[in-house]
C-alpha cells in the first residue's frame, strides 16, 4: 500500500467516522457506541498512517503485546468493582 489515494481515502474515512460517532451519540442517543467508533478510527490510523502491514512480525508482536496487557488490566481490574456486593458509595457535595 503506497501512494496518495489510499492515504486520502483513510483521511476522509476518519472524518466520516467522526461525523457518524457524533451522530450516533447525539441524534440516535447511543453514547455507548462512541468508543467503538473511536476504536475503528484508531484501527484506520494504525493501518494507513502507521503502516502496520508493512511492519515486520516483531513490530506486530510488540503492538499486540501492548493491547493484550491493556485487556488484562481492564478485565481483571474491573472484575472487583463489577462484582462487589457490599459497596456503599456516598456521593456527597463538596469536601471542603
Amino acid at each position: 500500500m503506497s501512494g496518495w489515494p489510499p492515504l486520502l481515502v483513510a483521511w476522509i474515512g476518519l472524518l466520516v467516522l467522526l461525523a457518524l460517532e457524533l451522530g450516533s451519540a447525539l441524534l440516535l442517543h447511543l453514547p455507548a457506541t462512541a468508543s467503538l467508533f473511536g476504536m475503528a478510527q484508531a484501527a484506520i490510523v494504525v493501518i494507513a498512517f502507521m503502516r502496520i502491514r508493512r511492519g515486520s512480525p516483531l513490530m506486530h508482536i510488540f503492538g499486540a503485546a501492548g493491547l493484550f496487557w491493556l485487556i488484562v488490566l481492564l478485565a481483571l481490574g474491573n472484575l472487583d468493582p463489577l462484582t462487589r456486593t457490599d459497596l456503599i458509595v456516598q456521593t456527597t457535595g463538596n469536601p471542603r
Partner: protein, 206 residues
C-alpha cells in the same frame, strides 16, 4: 551506522521495532487512565453523565478533526521523502506543526473556558448536588488525561521540527528516511491516544 549492526537496514528495522515497543509502553501508560475511567464511571454513572454534559464538545470535535488531518499531512510527507522529495517533506512537517499548534491553542481555549465555568474539582466546583462527587472525579480524569496528551503533543511538535531541520540539512533521501518513519509512528500514536480519549471525555457517558 553503529558497530553492532551488520547493515543500515538492520539498524533501521531495529529502530522501528524499538519505537513500536515504546508505543506498547505508551498503550499501558494511557491504558491506566482508560481503566480509571471505566472503573469510576461504573461507580458514578450519574456524576460522569453530568460532567460529560458540561464538556466542550464543539472544541473537542474540531480538535479531533485537526489532529486526524495532522497525521495525514505527516504521512504524506513520509511518502514524499520515500519518493525522494525532501522539499515536500519539509512542507508537510510545517503543515503538521501548524495543525499541532492549532490543536494546542484550541485546547488552551477549552481549558480557559472550563476554568471560567468553575469546572475545577475542589471547594468551588460549579456542578453541585448529589452527583457532584462523581463529576469532580471525572474532571480530575479530564485534566490529567488532556494535560498528559498535550505534553505528548509538545514533544511530538519538537520531533517534527527536528525532522524538518534534518530534512533541510539534506539528511534524508529516497534510500534512507528511518527517523521520519519513526517520528511518524509517534505522531500517529499520539493521534490514536486522542481518538481513545475523545469519546471518553465528550460522548460515552452522556
Amino acid at each position: 551506522m553503529h558497530f553492532q549492526y551488520s547493515s543500515a537496514e538492520h539498524q533501521a528495522e531495529s529502530a522501528m521495532s524499538g519505537m513500536w515497543l515504546f508505543l506498547a509502553q505508551e498503550i499501558l501508560f494511557f491504558g491506566a487512565l482508560v481503566f480509571v475511567w471505566v472503573y469510576c464511571c461504573y461507580q458514578h454513572p450519574a456524576g460522569f453523565r453530568l460532567a460529560t454534559q458540561h464538556a466542550n464538545l464543539l472544541i473537542g470535535s474540531i480538535n479531533t478533526a485537526v489532529l486526524l488531518t495532522s497525521s495525514f499531512t505527516f504521512t504524506a510527507g513520509l511518502l514524499a521523502i520515500e519518493r525522494g522529495e525532501p522539499r515536500r517533506l519539509i512542507q508537510a512537517c510545517f503543515a503538521t506543526i501548524g495543525l499541532g499548534v492549532v490543536f494546542l491553542l484550541l485546547k488552551g481555549v477549552e481549558w480557559f473556558k472550563d476554568v471560567g465555568d468553575g469546572l475545577v474539582p475542589g471547594a468551588h466546583f460549579s456542578l453541585t448536588g448529589p452527583d457532584s462527587g462523581g463529576a469532580q472525579i471525572f474532571y480530575v480524569f479530564y485534566y490529567v488525561a488532556t494535560v498528559l496528551h498535550a505534553l505528548h503533543m509538545i514533544i511530538g511538535i519538537g520531533l517534527v521540527l527536528w525532522i524538518a531541520w534534518r530534512a533541510r540539512r539534506g539528511d534524508f533521501s529516497r534510500a534512507w528516511s528511518t527517523p521520519v518513519e519513526v517520528v511518524g509512528l509517534y505522531w500517529s500514536f499520539v493521534d490514536v491516544v486522542w481518538l481513545t480519549l475523545y469519546p471518553l471525555i465528550y460522548l460515552a457517558a452522556l
